[in-house]
């Protein structure tokens, strides 16, 4: 295996187009994997792809920004609180100091704390290399061909005054989550104008819960939520160390109801 140390993104993008050559952000996924098929690794630390930048209402997070750096930068400017909170509690301190935004997008592990908030925010992914364009995150994660020979240079999203709620289903604090649940609500005149609900960690990796989003459009805040919302979305799990598929589906329903109640309802347990 050979290492490449490009000095800028253009050079890095050229490197990753070669067969068997992969980008290296923080390396936490690569360290655990089988290196026998990797012919070369491209260290991105000198490419200047790090940091949070704002252009008008749009925020741009560079690919090599670590979770710790991203959480701190977002917190400092008060942007995307769901994302900032999720990144600030993901994994553990030494890993948050190493895991990068770009690496986590490209590898999309089932336990990702990044992808739920990014999907809910309607983020776009910036690519260079074999494919050089900006695509919606949903398209990127569902189109494997976009990942071959391309380099994620960052992601962008527009922030709005969302009310946010985020949950990671873990057995103990430092555990990988079985799933994460992100709820974002835009409220106008005490009614829900727009709701976004994303679950990450299910059999299809993620699920946008449009049934719930539509059911609660126009919902008056602070009133009792309709019953049975936890069963009103279609999501399936695989058997996991955290529990059986049936258990995880039930728990996801419970947390969905709790989250919606905390975010929009009257706060009383049903």
């Amino acid at each position: 295996m050979e290492w490449f140390f490009p000095e800028d993104a253009a050079e890095a993008a050229r490197c990753v187009q070669e067969e068997g050559v992969v980008p290296h952000g923080g390396g936490t996924m690569l360290c655990r994997g089988d290196l026998s098929r990797i012919r070369g690794m491209v260290d991105l630390s000198r490419t200047g792809l790090s940091g949070l930048r704002r252009e008008g209402e749009t925020f741009f997070l560079g690919a090599t920004t670590t979770f710790s750096e991203a959480a701190r930068a977002l917190r400092t400017c008060g942007a995307a609180p769901a994302l900032s909170r999720a990144l600030g509690i993901a994994a553990a301190t030494p890993l948050r100091n190493r895991i990068t935004v770009g690496g986590s997008i490209a590898s999309f592990p089932l336990w990702s704390d990044l992808m739920g908030p990014l999907l809910a925010l309607g983020s776009s992914i910036h690519l260079r290399g074999r494919v050089a364009k900006t695509v919606p995150l949903e398209e990127y994660v569902t189109t494997p061909d976009l990942r071959r020979g391309t380099l994620v240079t960052g992601c962008s999203f527009s922030d709005r005054p969302w009310r946010v709620w985020y949950h990671r289903e873990v057995r103990v604090r430092f555990d990988y989550p079985a799933f994460t649940l992100t709820l974002l609500a835009l409220v106008e005149e005490e009614c829900v104008k727009e709701l976004r609900a994303v679950l990450v960690g299910c059999r299809n990796r993620f699920s946008r819960m449009t049934e719930i989003e539509e059911a609660l459009r126009g919902f008056p805040l602070g009133t009792e939520l309709p019953g049975g919302l936890g069963r009103r979305f279609d999501v399936a799990f695989s058997e996991r160390p955290h529990g059986s598929a049936a258990y995880l589906r039930e728990i996801a329903g419970v947390w969905m109801e709790r989250g919606l109640n905390a975010l929009l309802g009257n706060g009383k347990d049903r």
Binding site: H24, G27, C31, S68, T93
Partner: protein, 169 residues
Amino acid sequence: MQGRFRVNGKEALWTFEAGATLLDVLRENGVTEVKEGCREGHCGCCAVLLEGVLVDSCQVFAATAMEREITTSRGLGNLRAPSAVQQSFVDAGAVQCGFCTPGMVLATHALLEEHPEPTEEEIAAGLDGNLCRCTGYVKIAEAVRLASERRGTGGSCGGGCGDGGGCGA
């Protein structure tokens, strides 16, 4: 491949496999205060400071740490001149088998650099990547609070010399 490393202020030229982790390269070259635990980034026994940032060396390829400053627990102080954090771990009885201690000390150092007077929540978050199977964390958290106080007053001896920690040792 060959690379130049800076460990605790000293330069070294080491030969290693391209896919080797920083943990392996450090230990193969005698930096054995960096402990091998889970090798999965769970336990924090192999923690080092890379350019001042706490990382698990088992999750870092050595190639990416070349030419960068690496600090281990030995770089913070020694038996004759321990750092405030190291002495606080001794004084609080926060060491039992000692296997996790180098990582705990570095995590505490990194935490106090960012939060000189950490809250309980910040202590829990700062040490969330370090596991101890002996102590139950109570005395470790106590050591962190003690180190915070001592760093605030500039001392490390804890008053054993009769100077109330103000001797600067």
